[in-house]
Amino acid sequence: MTDAALAHVAIPGPLDRESFEDAQARHRRAAGLYGVLVILALLLVGLPLAGILFPLLFGLATLASDLLSLVGPAPDPLGLLLGTGGHFGEGEHWLREWLLFGLVVCTPGAVAMLLLWRAIWAVFLSAGTLGVLGRLGARPARPGDLEERQLVNLVEEMAIAAGLPAPAVLLLDSAAINAAALGPSLERSTILVTRGLLDQCDRDETQGVIAHLIAAIGNGDQRLALRLIASFATLGLVRQLLKAPLSPSARQLLAELGRFAWRGAAAAEPAAAARLIEALLAEEQGHDLDQADQNKIKAVLLLPFMMAFAMFNLVAFLASLLFLSPALALLLRHRRYLADATAVQLTRNPDGLVQALQHLVAQPDQALACGQEASLLFITEPRSAGGSGSAPIGLMFKIHPAAAKRHARLVAMGATGAARGPDEAPEPALPARGKLLAGLLTALLVPLIGLLIYLMLFLIVAGTGLALIVGMMWVLILLGPLHVLLR
C-alpha cells in the first residue's frame, strides 16, 4: 500500500469514537428531520395527482346528484362551478382565490386516495406477514436441525435484550445471504433468514444480523416500510382505476379487489390477500389495452381516461423523482444506521455485525424472487429476480447505505477496525489539472441540473393543468346536455 493510500485508511482515534447512545440520538434526530421531509414530499407528490383525479370525481358527483334530483332535491355541483367561474383570479385577492381553487381541486382526490390507502392497509393487515414476501416460499425452522434451533434461540435472546415479544422465525432455502424483518406491529412480526446466511455466518455474526432486525422492529421500521409499500400499492390501484375502461386485466384486478372488500378483510384467507398486493405492486405488464379497432365514439369517450392515465403516470414519476425518492432514501438510510446503533446496544458486540456485513456484501450472485419494494425490509439490498425492471415510484435512489459507511460508523462504536471496510477502496488523489477539470465539469453540470429540475417542475404543473382542463371540458361536454335534460 502506498503512503497516499494509507493516508485514507481511517484509524479510529479517541476523537472519532461515538457511544451507541450518542449514535442513536444522532440518527434518531436525523431520521425525525427526514421524516418531516418525507411527509412534505408525499404532499408534493399527492396533491398534483389528486388534482388530476378531480374531473373524474367531479363528473361522478355531478352525475350522481343529477340522478338524485329526479327523486328529490339535490345539490348542483355543476351549477355551483359555472356560477363561480367567469371573474376568477383577477381581483386583489387573487392569491387567496388561487389557494381556494387548489384546495377545492385537490381535496376530493386526496380524500379518495386516503380512503383507498386505508382499504389497502386493511388488506395488508389481513395478508399478515406473507403479504409482501409471500411468493418467496419461506418455511418455518426445523426443530430437529441444531443450527436452525440455534437461530430460533438467537432470535429469542435478542428479543429479550430489546424487551420485545419474540418474533416468529422463517427460513428461506436460498444460497443468498440476507435477512429481513417484517410485520405490521411488534406482536405480529416475523424474521426471515436465508439458509445461505445461516451456513456462512457464525453465531456472533448471525447474532449481529438478528440484533439489527430486532432493533429495526423495535424502532418501528417495519411499520413504516409497510405503510410505504401500502402507499405504493395505492398509487398502483389508482392507476388501475384510471386504466379500467381501457384494459381488461385492470378490470379483472378491480373485480377481484371488489370481491375481497365485499367478503370483508377478516374473512379472506391470507394467500388471496397476498396475491392481490402482489398484483397491485406489479409494474405495468406491457400493453394489455383493449384491441385497437374501437370505433371513434368510444375513443372520444375514453380520451379523458387515457389523458388522466398518462398524466398521472408522468406526474407521479417526475414528482417522486424530484421530491419523494431523495427524501425517502435519506430517511431510510438513517433508519438503517439507527438500527445498527441499536443492534450494538443489544449485543454490545459491534464486531459481529461488522463481520456479518462483510459476508452480506460478498454474497453469491443469487437472486431472491421478491419485488423491489421488499428491499425495504432487508438488512442489505437483496438481488431481486426482477432486477431489470424499473425501480418502483419513490424508491429510485438507493435506500440502503453503502456498506463502507455502515462499517465506519460501527468502527466508531468500538468495532475493531482490523478488518477493512468492504468497498473502501481509497480514492487516488486528483492531480491539479484533474481538479481544475472536475471544477469546470461541476460548474457546467450545476446549471444543467438546475435547468432539468426546472423543466420537471414545469412538466408537473403543466401535466396537472392539462389533465384538469381536458377532463373538465369532457365533463362539461358529456354531462352538460344530460344535466340540462335532467334538471
Binding site: L146, R149, Q150, N153, L154, E156, E157, M158, I160, A161, A162, G163, Q345, L346, R348
Partner: protein, 184 residues
Amino acid sequence: MALWLILALLAAAAIYAVSLYNGLVGRRNQVRNGWSQIDVQLKRRHDLIPNLVNAVKGYLSHERSAIDAVVQARERAISAGSDVAARASSENQLTGALRSLFAVAEAYPELKASQNMLALQEELGSTENKVAFARQHYSDAVQRYNTALESFPGNLLAARFGFAPATPFGLEIEAERAVPEVRF
C-alpha cells in the same frame, strides 16, 4: 392578554408535568417488566436442570460432587425468594456450578458427542444468554429510570409521588470481580 398568556403558560407547565409523570411511570414499568423477564428465564433454567442431570448421571458417575453442586445451587436459587440481592447471589452460584459441570463433561467424549447432550447444551447455553440479555435489558431500564428520577425536573415529581430508585441486578460473581493476577 396577560391573563391569557399566564393561563397558556400554566397549561403548558401542566402538560409538561403530566408527560414527565407518565414518562416516569412508563420507565418504572419497563424496569418491572425487565425484572419479570429475568425471572421467566431463571425459572426456565431451573426447569432445564433436571433434564441435564438425568442426561449426564450415567456418564459422570465418578463426578458426583459436580452434579450435587448444581442440584444444591438450583434448590437454593429456587428458595431465594424475591429479594433482588439474595436472588442475584444464589443465581450466580448456580451459573458457576453449571460452568464447572460442563467443564467436567468436556473430559467425556461419548457424553460430548451425544445428540441429547448437544441439544441440552445449546438450550442451556441459550438460556444463559437469555438470562444475561434479560439482565442487560433490566440494567439499561434501571439506568434510564434512575437517571430520569435523579435529574432535575424529574426529581421534584419523583419525591412527591413516591417513585423509589430501582436496584440493579448484581452482575458478576465474586470470582469474576477479583482482579486477575498477572505474572511475567
